[in-house]
């Protein structure tokens, strides 16, 4: 184990996916460092960041992989879906194409990620009210139909960024801790070097079914 501040009870790997320019890196920098740059450089391949949050007195460390949005990178980035227990699928509420492509990204996850991965649909740039091209209700309905949770965020003015990550991490935590209670926990701590996939939420599927009915 490392020093005290490095200690944590759970380590969850989460991926950020979605079209180029929808604000994946901005969401990440807002969440992990509370920073925002109007124009941040395009992500090349994948980039990594981390932050810990508290849920029920437990420390949850999120290991977040930010991926490049361009199609050409998909062969590289899909390798990083392995072991991820959560995915934030981001689109830009002002760019219809980025919303249309959500279906493709879902297929991408189905093909390469763990089948129990929790997916949250994130409509980013909610500050661009006057440019909105996807009504909230439409995206919400789509999310429900596909068993995804849904939230609209703005990395620019911070709206809902914290809740977006909090919600998905808490949901993963609930599933994992339920599973641990049922499976006789071997210990509270998932070691940093252990494959994060160990925390795979095996009940995610059933939970998802419940919420979409």
């Amino acid at each position: 184990m490392g020093t005290r501040e490095d200690e944590y009870d759970y380590l969850f790997k989460v991926v950020l996916i979605g079209d180029s320019g929808v604000g994946k890196s901005s969401l990440l920098s807002r969440f992990t460092r509370n920073e925002f740059n109007l124009e941040s450089k395009s992500t090349i391949g994948v980039e990594f960041a981390t932050r810990s949050i508290e849920v029920d007195g437990k420390t949850i460390k999120a290991q977040i992989w930010d991926t490049a949005g361009q199609e050409r990178y998909r062969a590289i980035t899909s390798a990083y879906y392995r072991g991820a227990v959560g995915a934030l699928l981001v689109y830009d509420i002002a760019k219809h194409l980025s919303y249309e492509n959500v279906e493709r990204w879902l297929r991408e996850l189905r093909d390469h990620a763990d089948q129990n991965i929790l997916i949250m649909l994130v409509g980013n740039k909610s500050d661009l009210r006057h440019l909105r091209s996807i009504p909230t209700e439409e995206a919400k309905a789509f999310a429900e139909k596909n068993g995804l949770s849904f939230i609209e965020t703005s990395a620019l003015d911070s709206t809902n960024v914290e809740p977006a990550f909090q919600n998905i991490l808490t949901e993963i935590y609930r599933i994992v801790s339920q599973k641990q209670m049922r499976d006789q926990p071997e210990g509270d701590v998932i070691r940093p070097d252990a494959e994060p996939a160990d925390a795979r939420p095996s009940q995610a599927d059933s939970v998802r079914k419940q919420c979409c009915q």
């Binding site: 941040s40 090349i44 960041a49």
Partner: protein, 480 residues
């Protein structure tokens, strides 16, 4: 290393959705507008020829033929490398004596270079320890470009400048000699012309230069009219258009729409002419060094960070743009497989990097492996962007002096530069105790204060590695 899987479905068939087929005309392919039967019929051969001749550039070949035979001998480039190490050692010695206690016990002759390096690591280490909390750059956080650094330094090296100038006075420039001279860095005053020569864009023969440049620049204008001003491929253009404004968000120079449109045209036309790869995010960063070097030539002595491009004449701007385009094209020729489907060239090099480090620095390799750090996770960007995201712009330009001077293209050499770059941080990496720490460091190596001399050390190290390992694949391979 995690291997990737291309997009095959369960029947082993490539899925059709993600990898779109270009809808638009591709250079060298029969033009879509010409009917199939017409193209095939012998009578319209000329039509066919006219529809595909956009793949050729008049004069591409005659320029290349001049440099085909030029090879830089290993002995010579080694001498150059040693000179670099020696001069660096000398310049560093003074510094070390003044502020660092040189470890004298085990220092003798050939070990000296190593000690200098070790001290450097220490200095970097202690310096960063103080400031890392504030200064640490994060991905996406814009870094100051500090273009002013371009004009300093090296300029003092008058004798080197003279040698360049003498060499370039000849009716036919000896490219061999020019490469030897350039490998260790090119003085600012002659950099633009030297880059043109080394890229194979400018003929070695002085007499042919004016005519060639005129023709190539006119050709570029023609390409702009043919592809950029006409109906564009939406996907390619959209991606470029998204990426350009966010290249260097805090530098006023790059926020001018004049500059952004120049970059867009260069990249769009390059992408259309290279359909096997197309535009790949990151290639935009590879235009910048050419652009800066040619801009500096047009506006000597100016502060470039805020330079208003409208101060130049239209002709001057056209030259910067066309020359950046042609030099970029030549430059990328040897690494095109980096940007094709699945970026196989990079995957191959990442694997080579892993094998190399495993052979030459097992403790570091095992440290990375034990903490689950995969080479692809950190070195992909190094290779895709040729380290432009990892080092200051002025350092990239200095690094490209060497890349352009590499005899057989820099594709192989680049691997060794990445290896030397990784090894440079080994002490700090070995101090990191977990995956997070390693990855954060590897993605944000503290090079803010790097100067040309750091690059000279880096390429010298890379040269040593290449010399030792490139032609000896089994050297040190004890565990097989």
């Amino acid at each position: 290393m995690e291997s990737f899987q291309p997009e095959y479905d369960k029947n082993g068939v490539l899925s059709d959705t993600f990898w779109k087929t270009p809808q638009r005309a591709i250079p060298g392919r029969p033009c879509q507008r010409v009917g199939q039967s017409e193209v095939m019929s012998g009578s319209s051969y000329q039509q066919f020829q006219a529809s595909v001749n956009d793949a050729w550039d008049l004069g591409d070949d005659d320029i290349i033929s001049g440099i085909a035979e030029t090879r830089i001998s290993k002995a010579i480039s080694q001498t150059v490398a040693l000179n670099v190490i020696n001069s660096h050692r000398n310049s560093n010695k003074n510094v070390n004596k003044s502020d660092v206690k040189v470890e004298t016990d085990n220092v003798k002759s050939e070990n000296e270079a190593k000690v200098v390096k070790r001290n450097e690591v220490k200095k970097v280490g202690s310096g960063a320890g103080v400031s890392s909390g504030i200064m640490r750059p994060y991905p996406g956080r814009p870094r100051p470009v500090r273009l002013s650094a371009l004009t300093s330094r090296e300029e003092s090296n008058e004798s080197k400048l003279e040698r360049f100038q003498q060499l370039q006075e000849n009716a036919v420039v000896d490219l061999n000699e020019l490469k030897q001279l350039s490998w260790s860095g090119i003085p600012v005053k002659v950099r633009a012309i030297t880059w043109r020569l080394l890229a194979g864009y400018l003929p070695a023969n002085t007499e042919r230069r004016a005519e060639t440049l005129q023709r190539k620049r006119a050709d570029y204008k023609h390409l702009v009219r043919q592809y950029y001003d006409a109906e564009r491929d939406d996907d390619t253009y959209r991606q470029i258009h998204i990426d350009i404004p966010r290249m260097s968000p805090l530098v006023a120079l790059f926020q001018q729409s004049t500059v952004q449109v120049m970059f867009e045209r260069i990249l769009y036309i390059w992408a259309i002419r290279h359909p096997a790869s197309g535009y790949v995010q990151g290639i935009n960063d590879l235009v910048t060094p050419f652009f800066m070097v040619f801009l500096q030539e047009a506006a000597p002595g100016e502060e470039l960070d805020n330079f208003p491009l409208d101060k130049l004449t239209e002709e001057q701007r056209d030259i910067i743009e066309a020359d950046s385009f042609w030099c970029l094209s030549k430059f990328l020729d040897s690494i095109q497989d980096n940007y094709i489907f699945a970026q196989l060239g990079i995957q191959y090099k990442v694997n080579q990097l892993k094998e190399l480090i495993k052979r030459i620095d097992k403790p570091l390799h095992e440290h990375l492996q034990n903490h689950g750090v995969d080479y692809l996770q950190f070195s992909f960007r190094w290779m895709n962007n040729l380290l432009t995201r990892e080092i200051p712009l002025a350092c990239s330009i200095r690094l490209w002096d060497t890349y352009l001077a590499e005899s057989d293209g820099f594709a192989t050499f680049q691997l060794y530069v990445c290896a030397a770059f990784l090894l440079h941080w080994r002490e700090r990496l070995l101090l990191e105790r977990d995956f997070q720490g390693l990855m954060i460091l590897l993605q944000n190596v503290p090079t803010q204060n790097w100067t040309d001399s750091n690059i000279s050390m880096l390429v010298a190290e890379a040269y040593k590695l290449k010399f030792a390992f490139a032609d000896a694949p089994n050297h040190l391979q004890s565990d097989r």
